[in-house]
């Protein structure tokens, strides 16, 4: 029994080792051939132009170099209305925000007064940056229970009404692609990447078809890396505050963006594979991590039971999938697949 067991065990070990060796050989042969290299000479792409017959469609043409340094051209369309909506819907003009929030706050206070049946006794004024003041007056002979309601509302205005502003502010920021947590205002990458996927669907399909039968991670990566690196201003010329972020559709139309803008654009394209992707926020930088099986030479991280390959999207230098020098603990944003 022992000899039989040993023979069986030995045979299984040999077969297992052979299978492992074959897998390793196949993996080496299929390994990505792209390499880190100098910044490629980038041929200027034509500017976006309207599609004849449909003025709402913009044709985008990109000239870039693929992972094998071969020149490629990508042509896709995006709806001008989508692009303009995405860009106008992100960020805020402070004056407009204050006006809108004050209007919403006034409405909320008036509705509360109506609900308590005391609106006719109060005059409420909202002013400045969400401040408010009020006066109230009731004629002699007013019923005692009404007087009590008036006093209750006065007390509510004094103590609790200011708390009503916080949810209004949070909702305002959320509606404008931002996230307010405590005093920290940040870009809502997940929503913006998700919302941009449909407008960028044609660009995704065009890019995917350029990759042929191969998993096009390297191609997607070099495409985004080759977009011009440009730091968007914190406040754009129209006075809109954007925290230095450019929405994915604008990155594609303007063919430029900084680390987090490019990372979000990459995520909104890549999630259409469909696959999960992480946007990792490093102070002063951003990169992505793409769900997949990392190779032995690829830097990767693990979230739950899923592995993600780290990818530098910022450019303009070339970095292969899994090639990064970043190390440490950082915040991530999970972008679910489309």
């Amino acid at each position: 029994m022992k000899k039989g067991g040993c023979a069986l065990f030995g045979c299984a070990v040999v077969v297992g080792l052979l299978a492992l060796a074959t897998l390793a050989a196949v993996r080496l042969l299929a390994a990505d051939t792209s390499e880190t290299g100098p910044v490629p000479v980038r041929e200027a792409s034509p500017r976006p132009e309207p599609v004849p017959g449909d003025p709402d469609l913009l044709r985008l043409t990109f000239r870039f170099r693929d992972p094998d340094e071969q020149p490629r051209q990508l042509s896709c369309v995006i709806r001008r209305s989508d692009y303009e909506r995405e860009e106008a819907g992100f960020g805020f003009v402070r004056k407009q925000m204050v006006e809108e929030l004050n209007r919403a706050l006034r409405g909320l206070l008036e509705r509360e007064a109506e609900a308590r049946g005391v609106a006719s006794y109060f005059k409420i004024e909202v002013f400045g940056d969400g401040s408010f003041r009020w006066t109230y007056k009731y004629p002699d002979g007013t019923q005692q229970r009404v007087v009590q309601r008036i006093k209750d509302f006065h007390a509510w205005l004094n103590q609790d009404a200011a708390k009503a502003l916080q949810p209004l502010t949070e909702r305002y920021y959320r509606d404008h692609g931002l996230r307010l947590a405590g005093d920290d205002l940040s870009v809502d990458y997940e929503t913006l990447a998700r919302n941009a996927s449909t407008p960028l669907a044609d660009c995704f399909q065009a890019l995917k078809s350029l990759g042929g039968g191969r998993l096009p991670l390297s191609l997607f990566l070099t495409f985004i890396q080759d977009l011009r690196y440009e730091l968007p201003p914190d406040v754009d010329p129209d006075g809109r505050e954007t925290l230095g972020f450019r929405v994915p559709t604008a990155v594609m139309v303007k063919e430029a963006g900084d680390c987090d803008s490019k990372a979000a654009a990459f995520c909104s394209l890549w999630r259409q594979i469909p696959a999960r992707v992480l946007l990792i926020l490093v102070p002063g930088h951003a990169l992505v991590a793409v769900e997949g099986k990392p190779g032995p030479d690829q830097a990767s991280i693990r979230l739950g039971n899923r592995y993600f390959i780290l990818c530098e999207v910022a450019g303009p230098g070339r970095s292969r999938p899994g090639e990064t020098q970043i190390s440490g603990s950082f915040q991530y944003v999970l972008i679910e697949p489309a």
């Binding site: 029994m1 022992k2 067991g5 040993c6 065990f9 997940e190 992480l278 990792i280 830097a299 990767s300 991280i301 693990r302 979230l303 739950g304 039971n305 780290l310 990064t324 970043i326 190390s327 440490g328 603990s329 950082f330 915040q331 991530y332 944003v333 999970l334 679910e336």
Partner: protein
């Protein structure tokens, strides 16, 4: 100026207390389990008191092996418990975290004890001409030392798998903090 965060300190203290309690509980449990398996209903305590060296070596190796694997339940436990200290959790959230922690310990505990038992059982079946358990009970120290090293060798290989399993149990949200290599 660097400051000590009280919530973080409290989480660390809780981790320490949980680790002490569970370590004692689990090590004692596995001791009883292995003693029963090795001694086959004999009184393992009296055998140890009588100076049974082989049983001591074998039991000690079993405990060490499983403790090395069980420690992987501490990391996921603290990963979820720490979240309680960062906000103002409701009772339902606290109950959910307690349930998750219990699940981590049950899964890692069963996997650790079960896999070591299974691996050693398979190994003893493969070495048919060497009846390890009988020889240990006869106080054959050479066999006991060999058995102990077998257990530790199996544990060294299993360690990676149990660590992987334990980390896969940690729930993750749409945002969080992650360690880059």
């Amino acid at each position: 100026m660097p400051q000590i965060e009280l919530a973080s300190l409290a989480a660390g203290a809780l981790a320490y207390a949980v680790a002490i309690g569970l370590a004692v509980l689990l090590v004692f449990g596995t001791f009883r389990l292995h003693a029963a398996l090795l001694a086959s209903r004999r009184d393992e305590e009296s055998m140890l008191l009588a100076g049974h060296r082989s049983l001591a070596i074998a039991l000690g190796a079993s405990l060490l092996s499983q403790a090395l694997l069980l420690r992987h339940a501490v990391f996921p436990t603290m990963a979820v418990v720490r979240d309680l200290f960062l906000g103002h959790p409701s009772r339902a959230e606290v109950a959910r975290v307690v349930g998750q922690c219990a699940l981590f310990w049950v899964v890692v505990g069963v996997a650790s004890v079960g896999s070591v038992l299974l691996a050693t059982w398979l190994f003893t079946r493969m070495t048919g001409r060497l009846p390890e358990q009988e020889e240990i009970l006869k106080d054959n120290v050479a066999v006991a030392i060999f058995y102990a090293f077998v257990l530790l060798a199996i544990t060294a290989v299993l360690n990676e798998g149990i660590e992987d399993l334990a980390r896969s149990l940690i729930p993750y949200g749409p945002t969080g903090v992650i360690q880059l290599p």
